[in-house]
């Protein structure tokens, strides 16, 4: 821990040069103390670029934790505006944000938490025209979107770009979470699980409702998986295991996923 009191340039292990100043070393000290992160891991977190697709309930804890933990560059992509009905669970926003673009309000919230983080607000819906550019510019993609076509688009482009995709979804009282690891050929993808051509009944929060802390739980798990990949890129991930979370009794079921040998996306 002597590194915490030394000057601006600290020699980290394995010959890597860290360049966190004293304030940053103090800010991130509780992560640096962890054996699983350390100064090297925190430095990798500081250099990581993350794209968050969507700026709603899942994106709220993802954005806040990633900003607080010092992810280098965070891009949030969404074309929605803050509505009164969002405030029950979308903890990025407050009363004064109603009517504002979600991404602008999200960027302001992240900068308030940590001005050291580079934040990019993309006030567009993720679509065929911007997906490759946005995903290509990220090291890790967190899917916090709210519909079936977007989830398939994110999966397809992230897989093509070889990026790890941290997947989370929540509705009513239940959530689903996993990592589709585009860096690894043997990792299954979203299309292996659910076919794009099948009919998915789109159940909206406006119709089904959603339990406020459920998006917090799933989103925080996505933040954790994202930070783990950023800090220790070679560590095992959730890839290949789908978590089915029930917020009624906090039961988490784990389903082992297999790659579909005929999947057109990941083969």
């Amino acid at each position: 821990m002597s590194a915490l009191s030394t000057g601006a340039t600290v020699t980290a292990g394995a010959g890597a040069k860290a360049n966190m100043d004293d304030d940053l070393l103090r800010r991130y000290s509780r992560h640096i103390m962890l054996e699983e992160i350390g100064e090297d891991g925190q430095e990798r977190i500081r250099r990581a670029r993350v794209l968050i697709v969507g700026a709603g309930g899942l994106a709220s804890p993802i954005a806040l934790y990633l900003a607080a933990a010092g992810i280098g560059e965070i891009t949030v992509c969404d074309d929605d505006e803050v509505d009164l009905t969002n405030l029950q669970r979308q903890i990025l926003y407050g009363e004064g944000d109603i009517g504002k673009a979600k991404t602008a309000a999200a960027a302001a919230a992240m900068r308030r938490v940590n001005p050291n983080v580079e934040v990019r607000a993309v006030g567009e819906r993720l679509g065929e025209e911007n997906a490759a550019t946005l995903i290509g510019a990220a090291d890790i993609v967190a899917d916090a979107s709210d519909n079936y076509p977007t989830r398939h688009l994110v999966n397809r482009i992230a897989r093509k770009a070889g990026k790890p995709l941290v997947f989370g979804a929540a509705m009513a009282m239940e959530g689903q979470m996993t990592v589709f690891d585009g860096r690894r050929a043997e990792s299954p993808c979203y299309h292996c699980l659910f076919s794009e051509s099948d009919y998915a009944e789109e159940t909206r929060c406006a119709l089904m409702g959603v339990f406020a802390p459920l998006v917090g739980i799933v989103g925080a798990m996505q933040a954790a998986a994202t930070l783990r990949i950023a800090a220790t890129p070679d560590a095992p991930t959730l890839a290949g295991r789908l978590l089915l979370l029930d917020a009624r009794d906090m039961r988490v079921r784990e389903v082992r996923l297999n790659k579909d040998a005929e999947c057109p996306v990941c083969n």
Binding site: G54, G56, G57, L58, A59, D143, A144, S145, D146, N147, Y148, R151, G168, A169, A170, M171, A172, E174, G175, Q176, P188, L193, F194, S195, D198, Y199, A200, E201, E202, T203, R204, C205, M208, V210, V215, L242, L244, R253, E254, V255, R256, L257, N258, D260
Partner: protein
């Protein structure tokens, strides 16, 4: 033969159950049952069952907590989970 079924997410609301024990008569299913056979038996109930579990619906299955396709074998006493995509965020 008896198998344990579990329903997740909106299936629970629509089918009005978290799960059930399904008894299939060997006379109709023989001694090797697949996920597809289970679905056929459930759809035969008609109404919401036929609609919610229709062929073109995005659904995933796990047999004994491992992801399985419709051709996967289900053995006596095994657990079959049926879950739709949750898409909300």
């Amino acid at each position: 033969m008896k198998i344990r079924l579990l329903y997740f997410a909106r299936l629970r609301e629509q089918l009005g159950a978290e799960g059930e024990t399904l008894s299939l008569s060997p006379a109709t299913v023989g001694d090797a049952v697949t996920v597809a056979d289970v679905l056929t038996a459930l759809r035969a109930r008609g109404g919401i069952w036929a609609e919610t579990l229709a062929e073109d619906r995005a659904l995933a299955f796990a047999v004994g907590q491992t992801f399985a396709d419709k051709n996967a074998t289900v053995n006596e006493g095994e657990e079959v989970a049926i879950f739709p995509p949750v898409t909300g965020g």
